[in-house]
Point group: C2
Chain length 142, copies 2
DNA sequence: CCTTGACTCTGTAGCTACTACGGACTTTAC
DNA sequence: GTAAAGTCCGTAGTAGCTACAGAGTCAAGG
């Protein structure tokens, strides 16, 4: 199977596959007489594994660990579980952060809609939001 | 005010301030006789503006636009509103995506907890999840 | 006055996960 | 036979910083 077929079958972009090879996530594949990469089913499976991991938001390093655990015959399910739960916690944190942003944005946008013309409340929010303390140090005046 | 004071007052990392200058988000500041950057209050305000924009998840390009609109005396509140609403929509989309990831992860993690020993359902999920169609093309067998 | 330590300067390289190019070669289709 | 499509490799670009190295500057203590 050539690289473009492997790309189609795995859901990975063609250039991404070469990238995964370069960073050691994929082993160097067999080559045809003319030097074209030739992928076997197991390698396409591995690409799909990576692709699904990415869909779940795992980093390449996490996927690297998961692949190692997958290759390992004496299955250490506990380690996999730790990676997955840590990652889930990370995702939840990112969701919380985005929620905070969205809430704050909704607030300033809503205010703007009802605001008087002449001063934009969105820009005001950016100008004044959670204003940190001024530097009162004498040097600051220099 | 020297750069470290400006950093403390604005919430931007010292090296980040230099970076903003390099990419043209901050104008080149005045310099002392010895070449140290000297920030005036208005510039620290601008840094805070950027910092708050980042807290709300705006990209540097979006912030660049907002700064332009802020500098503009004939306030175009409508443009600001468009940027903010577009950004909010983008954040909501990212939240949805992360939610999908979290839900799927929760599912496979929960299955794993109740699964039989000897085969990890998390790894199985990555191996088989939403399996794409095989390449049935004859060339794939080569 | 001199030293010591903290600060700042510039320029460059690193990070994640790709994506896109250029120029050469090979394969495929007509 | 020729043209189009595919593949090769190496390099550079993307966002938004962060982290160095090596040199110069400043303030305080002895």
């Amino acid at each position: 199977m050539k690289i473009s077929d492997a790309a189609a079958a795995s859901g990975c972009h063609l250039e991404t596959i070469r990238y995964y090879e370069r960073v050691g996530l994929m082993p160097p594949p067999a080559r045809t007489a003319s030097g074209y990469r030739a992928y076997r089913p197991a390698e396409v499976e591995r690409l799909r594994f990576i692709s699904r991991g990415r869909e779940l938001g795992f980093s390449l390093e996490e996927i690297r660990s998961l692949l190692r655990l997958d290759d390992d015959s004496k299955m250490s399910c506990g380690d996999v579980d730790v990676i997955a739960r840590t990652h889930l916690a990370d995702i939840r944190q990112r969701i919380d952060e985005l929620h905070r942003m969205a809430t704050e944005l909704e607030r300033v946008i809503a205010e703007c809609a009802g605001g008087e013309r002449g001063h934009c409340t969105i820009l005001n929010a950016l100008r004044e939001m959670g204003a940190a303390s001024e530097c009162t140090n004498a040097r600051c005046r220099a």
